[in-house]
Amino acid sequence: MAEKRTRELFLGEGSSPDGTQHLYVNFGPAHPAMHGIIRIFAELDGETVVKTDVEIGYLHRAFEKDCEAGPYNNAIPYTDRLNYVSPLINNFAYSSAIEKLLGIEITDRCKYIRVIMSEISRICDHLTCVGAGSMELGAFTVFLYMIKAREFLWELVEDVTGARLTISYGRVGGVKADLPAGFDLKVKKAFAETRQVLEEVHTLVTGNRIFMDRMVGVGALSREETIAWGITGPLLRAVGVPFDLRKTQPYWAYDRIPFDIALGKNGDNFDRYLVRMAEMEQSMRIAEQALDGLPGGAIQVDWEGKAIDPAAYVDLGKQGKTEGLLLVPIRLSPNLQGQDPGAHARVNAQDKRVTLPTKAEAYGSIEGLMNHFMLVMEGYGIRPPPGEAYFAAEGANGELGFYVVSDGTDRPYRVRCRPPCMNPVAAIPRMIEGEMVADIIPTFGSVNMIGGELDR
């Protein structure tokens, strides 16, 4: 056995003649700069990244298997947890996939509500991404400002859905409830705050020497490569490809609302940052126009007169005293505004196969009661004809697709979620190999990996 040189004994096997060797470093699964649980196993030569392997799946919780286990609407709470920063988009995209499978059309007002809430979610997502990414580069102020702005938007979300994160607001054929009264004024106020934050952030970091040095020219992918990796969303637009599903294959009401696609040129981290910043402004523009054009008249509901308590209503129904009951409005809590018959009809598809009747109808008439049971009983419920459909919506990270196969029963035979952030995460090795260790951080930040949708 050859005697080991001192150098080898000290540095270990395989050290090169000049006394150096590659170093293997784990980033994650629990690293402060990894905003989800993901492991980047990197081989380093000094400070240069030679080779990396990305390991995912730490947050896998069988989303697709769970969807197969219950009726169609039961999957909606699971979709909240896909991209947990913009759960509304997931809700609506899943619902729309089922609607496509059923071949039903949703109401105009519902389309507008979906647009408004999706855009608010998109802003939240971009705020989080840019804020967290900047924080990792030392701009903690940006993070605090952006989280402040996100807080204003989440208050809007809370107002509409009753929850901040696990909102479960979408329904197949509509949404859970109508918008609350005075919502447009609240949106105006929140957007004013958000615009101010964006302005401040621009002043703070766009053009800031440290920020530019870390972002410009880092993590870039060419146009061809970005497409070959199937990367969509802000990362694709950052290389100058005007691909935005809201424009190219418009759904809901996007074809009726003018807005611009934010485009970059170089496809590096800085362009991705600029695209996201510009997109937030466009999203606000869309939401404002949608609120202005919201069809279906006033959302204010008439509570005057003989409104009664829901419990009293149920009691009367149970006693069989249903005569004239349908004419009595119920006094609902603000969280359930939109569950009254008028608002219910505005936001839900008029299709008895998918839309639950209002509580007033379910308790007040035999038809409503039967309709309710047909939709909630096991083996009944929403039963799309056998077939398959793929629906894609523009998520905050790119194309969020749902491929649903139905076998004609009340449970989806197969639900496949095409997670938008999986493609850029798969391309991370391509983006960082050959660059410096410190470049991993802004590149990873610009990819905006979201564990919930990546690992499902």
Binding site: K100, A228, G401, A426, R456
Partner: protein, 165 residues
């Protein structure tokens, strides 16, 4: 190009390798034989009139419990393609038998197919012939079985793994 024209062009090129085509809810689909899938994908990508430069999604479906299809090929591998240049979509499918669950890999055509095929292997146990690195993607190596198969019970527990104490 609209969906019918895409399917016509594929039929013209791939001939008898196309087992069926259909159009349901506006999604145009071609079912191909296993030998025909990679040439068809390459044709879709490289043909100037089709120019499907993006492999949007690659997944699979287990049809073993699907009413009326229990005896047919058990799996179907599903490819969703999109053309950035022409803004059109198509879906290609390959039936796969249970006893011979192997499909030629598309990772030579699109780099993203690497991860997507790893996920299909992980979840369905379909192998991809020629794949450079067919490891599990979301689950761990010690996991037994392939959970998205219909015969995998949803409540099945797996042994805990971890460093030996």
């Amino acid at each position: 190009m609209d969906g019918h024209a895409i399917l016509a062009r594929l039929r013209e090129r791939c001939g008898e390798r196309i087992l069926a085509t259909h159009d349901y809810r506006g999604d145009h689909t071609a079912v191909l034989s296993r030998e025909g899938i990679v040439p068809a994908l390459a044709f879709c990508r490289d043909d100037a009139a089709l120019a499907f430069d993006m492999l949007v999604d690659l997944t699979a479906v287990d049809y073993s419990r699907f009413p009326g299809r229990e005896d047919g090929p058990r799996f179907e591998v599903v490819y969703h393609l999109y053309s950035v240049a022409h803004n059109h979509r198509v879906r290609l499918k390959v039936p796969v038998e249970q006893d011979d669950a192997v499909v030629p890999t598309a990772s030579g055509l699109w780099p993203i197919a690497n991860w997507q095929e790893r996920e299909v292997w992980d979840m369905f146990g379909i192998r991809f012939d020629g794949h450079p690195d067919l490891r599990r993607l979301l689950l761990y190596e010690e996991f037994e079985g392939h959970p998205l198969r219909k015969d995998y019970p949803i409540n099945r527990r797996q042994p805990l793994i971890g460093p030996k104490v």
